[in-house]
């Protein structure tokens, strides 16, 4: 069976013109199939791998999710004919500088292989996996939990928040920092303890989280049940630190697929 296929590239520096393969589209004469970096079988896009290879464009990695949706709709609804698919893909480079579709040619496959199998095989050969630093994986897991809980859709959801707690006497105010804050009554405050930090830094992060939440609860800014910490399951010398932290906050292990449910549970009474 002869298949047409195209390689979708992300071009981080249009002046240099060097592309990174991020997706494959195939066509067997009747329909098209797509495999894209970060796209799983359920149609969800993990932006982590693309964020890693995006370099300086990492802050706008969310646009990649829009492009994946675009390629999915193209393959599913407008990929009936090779000619039409080719015409639209030829136009991709004119829509902006950062994505291009290369008509890579044809591939001869055994009749027993399905279109999806061939597409997956080509994807492994031409795109593969992106090696990601552990810290990036953690960041994307935090974002995943936030996104799936839909807390980010709340208008009072904020990132990188500094809160000034005024003192009753002439004492200086207390400054507290939160990685995220939902400023709806009752509030939810979030800290992050990065799991791959060195033990000293890890201890400092834990102490900072305990201090912040204790101050926030004492001042009436937060309720204890709405102090959440994003981290991962600890090991070794970090276990006692997390046990201490768990007395001041709800510890959320973001590597668990259901981590977002803990956030939803905290939101639940809103």
């Amino acid at each position: 069976m002869m298949l047409n296929y195209w390689v979708i590239q992300f071009v981080p520096d249009p002046l240099r013109g060097e592309g990174r393969n991020v997706a494959i589209i195939t066509h067997d004469g009747e329909r098209a199939s797509l495999r894209a970096l970060g796209l799983d079988r359920n149609g969800r896009v993990d932006l982590g791998p693309f964020t890693t290879l995006a370099g300086k464009h990492a802050p706008s990695a969310w646009v990649y999710g829009e492009w994946v949706r675009w390629f999915e709709d193209l393959s599913l609804y407008e990929g009936k004919s090779v000619e039409r698919l080719n015409a639209i893909l030829n136009d991709v480079a004119t829509q902006g500088l950062y994505f291009t579709a290369l008509p890579a040619g044809t591939v001869d496959t055994p009749k027993s292989a399905s279109l999806e199998q061939v597409t997956s095989w080509l994807f492994k050969r031409l795109v593969g996996k992106v090696k990601r630093p552990l810290s990036r994986i953690f960041d994307s897991e935090v974002e995943e939990a936030i996104t799936r809980s839909k807390i980010a859709l709340r208008t009072e959801f904020m990132r990188d928040v500094e809160v000034e707690i005024l003192a009753e006497s002439d004492a200086p105010p207390t400054l507290l920092r939160f990685a995220f804050l939902l400023d709806e009554r009752p509030r939810i405050g979030f800290k992050v303890v990065r799991p791959h930090a060195g033990i000293t830094s890890y201890g400092r992060q834990v102490n900072d989280a305990i201090y912040t939440f204790d101050k926030a609860v004492t001042a009436g800014f937060l309720e204890r049940s709405r102090c959440l910490v994003f981290t991962k399951k600890p090991s070794g010398g970090r276990v006692p630190l997390i046990e201490m932290l768990s007395r001041s906050a709800v510890v959320v292990d973001v590597s668990f697929p259901d981590a977002w449910k803990t956030i939803r549970a905290a939101i639940g009474s809103h």
Binding site: V63, G65, Y77
Partner: protein, 241 residues
């Protein structure tokens, strides 16, 4: 409607003074020029964006800039700095209409106002990132003075009750209620404001002041007649309940 961010190519330096701590920067843009196919492209684009800003229609912003060939129109690149959104696919029209019903209604009425025959897929919209809503239309080279082969015929068309925009991606997907809201809103826009959008106070490339005045008058007339135009051609526009 949420304000889109524009691409910033680079931050140059902060200005020396000022409480706002302003910085110099460059923005990314697509340059449009007059051509044989669209001899009044630059004028059309700047008038369209002025009208859109006056009526709060979701168009990509743009500015006039100077090139070696004279004035050109710089359509500012959309979305976050770095990576742009793709143009809307035909198959995405229902999803876009469902996600941005108000913007879609505004655009339909605006395109009827300016006689835009070629909206086609010239829309960029975010569909999968709900906390970053973006809907912006672009490219108006086939409207206003370029509806027909001459500016005179184009202006004459705007003075009639013809729909002109006989095809539009959002016909059949626009909300009837929102359509009526935007018709009323644009129809009640003061004529002086609409006229100012078409006037430059001097000849602009191939568009002399007399032609600018004629277009200005035609747009005011069309805005006031928008309700009648839309009602007459409801079978084509097919607004949905």
């Amino acid at each position: 409607m949420a304000e889109p961010t524009y691409k910033i190519r680079c931050i140059l330096k902060k200005s020396a003074s000022g409480v706002t701590k302003a910085s110099y920067c460059t923005l990314g843009a697509i340059l449009k020029f007059d051509s044989d196919e669209s001899p009044h492209c630059v004028y059309n684009e700047i008038v369209a964006v002025r009208l859109a800003q006056t009526c709060h229609i979701p168009l990509a912003d743009g500015v006039l800039t100077a090139t070696s060939d004279g004035p050109s129109y710089a359509s500012l690149e959309l979305a976050s700095p770095g990576i742009g959104l793709p143009d809307m696919l035909e198959s995405q029209i229902p999803s876009v209409a469902a996600a941005y019903p108000d913007a879609v209604a505004a655009l339909v009425v605006f395109d009827v106002l300016i006689g835009n025959r070629d909206r086609s897929r010239n829309v960029k919209a975010s569909l999968t990132t709900p906390h970053i809503p973006i809907f912006r239309a672009f490219d108006h080279s086939h409207a206003l003075l370029t509806i027909h082969e001459t500016p005179g015929k184009s202006i004459a068309a705007l003075e009639t009750s013809d729909l002109i925009a006989t095809q539009h991606p959002f016909y059949g997907f626009v909300s009837r209620g929102l359509l009526n809201t935007w018709v009323a809103r644009i129809a009640s826009t003061p004529g002086t404001l609409i006229k100012e959008c078409a006037r430059f106070g001097r000849p602009f490339r191939g568009v002399d002041e007399r032609m600018q005045e004629q277009l200005a008058d035609a747009l005011v007339m069309r805005a006031q007649n928008l309700g009648g135009v839309v009602t007459r051609h409801r079978a084509v526009i097919k607004p949905q309940p």
